[in-house]
Symmetry: C2
Subunit: 258 residues, 2 copies
């Protein structure tokens, strides 16, 4: 089975990490649109155009399913994308998991501006339980932090940005925090320190899990191929990728044009 | 006279602001590649490809000169760009001005990662005076700050990021600080508060001045046309643009594809 994984940048590698863990036998084609990253501050129309190009490219590579491992694409473009193979976004899976996890019915949702503006997570959670109380907040400086490797809980800048972005979410007394952008799990330690005891819902991980479950993929076996494609190839790709992917072995990395 | 002004996003509007002030009669065609912004974290090759497309587009619009109002493009791509009309980047003009302004021969240079990596400003300043002492630093979180409207000197996040990014520049005792990215002048107040008495060199302003001077443009007259083109059109374009351009009147704004 060959699975395509698409993200605007490298954050979607968090979904690949989970996929390799729970269904090691699949072949993975990862596509990161690093030449046009970030999507989260761009218009809906532009995100749709870029995503259509990416999905088309993945289908031409022969993938049999696609994980949209990008909160922004899943929220603002997924319903507009056409594909002959099944697609798994992060919204449905994470909303479901958040509803399962909360005890006090108070859920925090953090994501990019485009995602929060779309209210996609909110709508999906309320569809599952209309009595839940949701506090949403865009966190526009989290992606720049992660992309610059500033993720330590001891970093003064990280601390002050988290305090600024999450103040309202903390005051709301949420017990579950949905990380609606695949970059955010990298900041878990620092967010934990500020928020105290909350359950994190990781968008990339949940999308990978729902794909494996829905397709009934084999959860054991030898490691498959993991090919990586990007639209801009930066010098320190391996270093940057390893932040998200850990020590998984990338079979090849290639620059392509969409 | 019709002048093209190109930037990866809206920061280049700081050059337009100066251009309108000192040569009001010119017609201006502004092109901001907002659909692929930022350039500063992308590879040299990609920045060159994007810039070639932009310059070609401007020439097809009939501009008679082009201001490359983007520190990253000026530093890493300008020498590779071909154009039948004169092009004015920010590097030469700002380096010249910095050398003119310093009293103690100690100059700070701040810009995006791609620009600092290129050492373009450093090389240009040392070519003018090889005895000057230059302290350079990339400031990767400044563009995200400005793009999110976080520019107040009283903003705690702004304060902590400035302190983090400019610590070495401050210790070096520079008396002149070259703002090598057209977004940075928006942070002048906040940077001033941290740095104390230093002279700022504004990349957009200097590029506009050098263009007007070299072409001997008329420094008075009625206002010309000012047309704006972007590759992504966000909802709050006018609000975002006014941060850079003040109350200048934009004749029209249109979304185009490069």
């Amino acid at each position: 089975m060959k699975i395509g994984v698409f993200d605007s940048g490298l954050g979607g590698l968090t979904a690949v990490r989970e996929l390799i863990k729970i269904a090691p036998g699949v072949d993975i084609v990862y596509l990161g649109d690093t030449g046009r990253v970030p999507y989260g501050s761009k218009s809906r129309e532009t995100v749709i155009t870029y995503s259509e190009q990416a999905v088309k490219w993945l289908i031409n590579r022969g993938v049999e399913a696609i994980i949209i491992a990008c909160g922004t694409v899943s929220s603002v473009a997924l319903e507009r994308l056409e594909s002959p193979v099944p697609m798994f976004g992060v919204v449905g899976a994470t909303a479901y998991r958040a509803v399962e996890c909360t005890n006090n019915g108070k859920i925090g949702v953090i994501a990019t501006e485009a995602t929060i503006r779309s209210k996609a997570y909110e709508r999906e959670i309320l569809r599952l339980n209309k009595d839940f109380e949701i506090t949403s907040r865009s966190c526009p400086l989290f992606v720049p932090l992660v992309e610059n490797g500033r993720i330590s809980a001891d970093d003064k800048i990280v601390e002050s940005i988290i305090e600024d972005h999450l103040r309202d979410i903390k005051s709301a007394g949420v017990d579950t925090l949905l990380l609606g952008c695949t970059h955010y799990p990298l900041l878990s330690d620092a967010i934990s320190r500020y928020m105290g005891r909350v359950t994190f819902i990781d968008a990339g991980r949940e999308a990978a899990r729902s794909c494996v479950k829905e397709l009934g993929l084999n959860q054991s076996g030898d490691f498959g191929e993991f090919k990586c494609y990007v639209t801009d190839f930066v010098d320190d790709f391996q270093a940057q990728a390893s932040v998200f992917i850990g020590d998984a072995i990338i079979s090849s990395v290639e620059k392509i044009q969409l």
